[in-house]
């Protein structure tokens, strides 16, 4: 089963390696990982998408907590949260398909951020499923290149995780 975990860590060199090394060293799976500083510049927030049964997830959470540089681990599974990912897609845009690409982009509320006579670069934000759907629809036109940020999440409601509580 897929799990999305947020990890608040000390914003110091080597922390990413500690987390990534923990996953590889213990055979845990990482589907995606994104990281950037939080509002408190001494803390970074990682969003990790991983998978495994309950026992593995429990180990992942505990092992992460065991790292000295990890301040807080939040497993969003079963909780109410907002999940967003961004992607940029470079699509072939031949004479006959240009209009179709733009139509699809419009439907997905994506936008074109770079145009050439032979390609569009499309930017899209949304839940990973939405991006998957857009990629599927654009595929027949010919996707030249695709980059995805990996999802980031925040819990719904007023409660906030800042690492200082």
């Amino acid at each position: 089963m897929k799990h999305t975990i947020s990890v608040l860590v000390e914003n110091e060199f080597g922390v990413l390696t500690r987390v990534a090394g923990l996953f590889s060293g213990r055979g845990f799976n990482i589907e995606s990982l994104s990281v950037a500083p939080t509002i408190d510049p001494s803390i970074s927030r990682m969003t990790i998408v991983t998978s495994g049964d309950d026992q593995i997830l429990e180990q992942i959470t505990k092992q992460l907590n065991k790292l000295i540089d990890v301040i807080k681990v939040i497993d969003f599974t079963g909780q109410d949260y907002v999940e967003r990912e961004m992607a940029m897609i470079k699509v072939t845009a031949e004479e006959k398909t240009r209009a179709e690409v733009l139509r699809i982009v419009d439907i997905f509320r994506a936008k074109v951020v770079d145009v050439t006579p032979r390609s569009f670069t499309v930017e899209v934000t949304g839940a990973p499923n939405k991006i998957n759907a857009l990629v599927e629809l654009l595929s027949p036109m010919g996707i030249k290149e695709l980059v995805r940020s990996g999802p980031v999440v925040l819990g719904r409601g007023p409660k906030a995780w800042r690492g200082t509580d």
């Binding site: 080597g14 026992q55 429990e58 065991k66 000295i68």
Partner: protein
């Protein structure tokens, strides 16, 4: 007044109460070694950096204090790796200082540069690269704190040469504040109450003790707890000395080379109380059939140990001493029910006693050949209860666990988790340097001994009277045993074909060498060895193809023991 990084380091060590460090000098630690000449801290020069870390480890295991080792950058640092991994697997509190090339050169493949932070990341509890001398005192304070608190472990500080030379105003922080590190010491009372109810309802309880009992010095609480509930006690290799082997409730070691009765008791138990143990594969055998009828209570300070390898019915995270004290107290509130339980479990103790008399630990004695088990028994007979025994890894280690009746905590120092051949001699060196007046004996095999035999020089130089008993079978015995049992006696590369004259080797270093070749000589050699001042090698030419029995074959369940080969 401003101080250099290297002076700050030594000042901090002093403030942490460090009296002895083990190490080896080199280019990037030369400043520290220069300042060491003016420091009250005793430095012991080992002959290899790996041995320096093992010695610090032995020192820490024997005393309970944090062990400190120091090495230069590059090869000095990489040589510490096995020592660090050994300490990590057995949760020994260590601080390892490595020199590093000057910060502007880091990453340039400079002379004697190695990314020791990267290399030791998975085998340290935490590690630090000090980039600014103003961080040094805080980092050292944190390193000692992290090493000795929670589940202890080794912490490495990589100290570039320029940071040792840079100066700053020195102030040692009084408090440690690490927001991501707050180990749980106090066991949850509700969980303790649940555990007590489970204990009162159990009819076939067994206590299973790991290395945590020794790390927290909880032997007294453990004994009181076991006696109160009258449950048989089995220990892992690491837990061995925490419960007196001659106690009527003692079952000795469980697992692959455990006693028949310990393994039978665990397999038939209805409640297993795991105390500071981590259900290692050498303990459980096939995890799926481990203690199949038992509910499991698991007490450990490290939450990751819980439910890692086996299912657990009741976890209690906390310091063992604290949790055991609370359990004893809660049990005290139910004296009536407890005495009822103790009465109703008497049939269980009888059943266990039955297994004990059915298959006690034994071996076939011999008039013509020296049996290794006989040597262990004799050493036990002739040493004090507070003698510190170290071992290397292999058959001699298992025989020591099986036949040496340990009675006091912190008297058995052995590499359990990593299984490091070559630990015993430097480990004994470290223990002896902490306790110059106690008997310290390294029980070794001829293979393991040669992995760090250079430390004989250190023993002689520092007049550390460690006694080394080599059970010499001219084989890498444990691997040979597996080849005999599972590879059709194809002894691939396990015969140490060159016979070493260990007596002469001892003499070459200025130590004493003694040899026993027949059973009749064994006692005399041990007596003489123990009486001789200074380091002594006692070589015993033991029967070559003796096996460690009983044995649970790898992947089998504990009840599928082979009793004799």
């Amino acid at each position: 007044m401003k101080k250099t990084g290297s002076k700050i380091l030594l000042e901090c060590l002093k403030l942490e109460g460090v009296d002895t460090i083990f190490g080896y000098p080199g280019g990037t630690v030369i400043n520290i070694y220069d300042d060491l000449m003016d420091s009250p801290i005793r430095h012991i020069l080992t002959r290899h950096e790996q041995a320096a870390v093992h010695a610090a480890d032995g020192y820490a295991r024997a005393t309970g204090k944090v062990g400190v080792a120091i090495a230069t950058s590059g090869p000095g640092a990489t040589n510490t790796v096995t020592g660090i991994a050994t300490a990590y697997m057995d949760s020994t509190p260590l601080v390892i200082i490595t020199g590093q090339v000057p910060t502007p050169l880091i990453g340039n493949d400079a002379f004697q540069e190695a990314d020791i932070i990267g290399i030791t990341r998975p085998i340290t509890k935490h590690n630090y690269l000090v980039k600014d001398v103003r961080d040094l005192a805080r980092i050292i304070k944190q390193a000692f704190y992290i090493a000795r608190t929670g589940r202890p472990g080794p912490v490495l500080i990589d100290l570039p040469k320029d940071v040792q030379i840079d100066t700053t105003t020195f102030a040692y922080p009084e408090k440690v504040e690490i927001r991501g590190y707050k180990p749980t010491y106090s066991g949850n009372l509700r969980q303790v109450e649940k555990a007590v109810r489970m204990i009162l309802d159990a009819r076939k309880p067994v206590i299973y003790v790991g290395g945590g009992a020794s790390l927290t010095d909880a032997s007294d609480e453990l004994k009181e707890f076991a006696e109160k509930i009258q449950a048989p006690v089995t220990t892992t290799l690491m837990g061995m000395a925490s419960f007196p082997r001659k106690h009527p409730l003692s079952l000795g070691m469980l697992g692959m080379h455990g006693t028949f009765y310990a393994n039978m008791a665990v397999t038939n138990s209805d409640l297993l109380i795991a105390v500071g143990a981590r259900f290692d594969d050498r303990v459980t055998g096939k995890a799926a059939t481990f203690a199949p009828h038992a509910k499991i209570i698991h007490i450990d300070i490290d939450p990751t140990s819980i439910k890692k390898n086996v299912r657990v019915d009741l976890p209690i995270v906390g310091d063992l001493k604290d949790v055991l004290k609370k359990m004893i107290q809660k049990l005290g509130n139910s004296e009536e029910k407890l005495s009822e339980t103790v009465q109703e479990t008497s049939f269980w103790r009888e059943e266990v006693a039955g297994w004990k008399s059915q298959h006690p630990m034994s071996y076939k004695s011999s008039e013509s050949e020296i049996k290794p088990q006989f040597v262990i028994e004799k050493i036990r007979e002739l040493t004090a209860d507070d003698a510190i025994i170290t071992t290397e890894v292999g058959q001699h280690q298992m025989w020591t666990a099986q036949f040496f009746d340990f009675m006091r905590p912190r008297t058995f120092l052995t590499s359990g988790g990593l299984g490091t051949m070559g630990f015993g001699l430097p480990g004994a060196l470290g223990a002896q340097s902490a306790f110059p007046d106690r008997q310290v004996i390294d029980i070794s095999g001829d293979g393991s001994f040669q992995m760090n035999s250079q430390e004989l020089a250190t023993l002689v130089q520092y007049r550390l009277p460690v006694k080394i008993a080599i059970l010499n079978n001219n084989f890498l015995g444990m691997v040979r045993q597996w080849q005999q049992l599972f590879f059709n006696r194809r002894y691939s590369q396990t015969c140490m074909e060159l016979p070493i004259d260990f007596v002469k080797l001892a003499e070459a270093y200025g130590a004493t060498g003694l040899r026993a070749s027949t059973p009749g000589e064994v006692e005399d050699v041990i007596r003489k060895g123990l009486e001789t001042p200074g380091p002594v090698i006692m070589e015993f030419k033991v029967s070559r193809e003796e096996n460690v029995m009983p044995m649970v074959p790898a992947g089998a369940g504990l009840n599928e023991m082979v009793l004799a080969s």
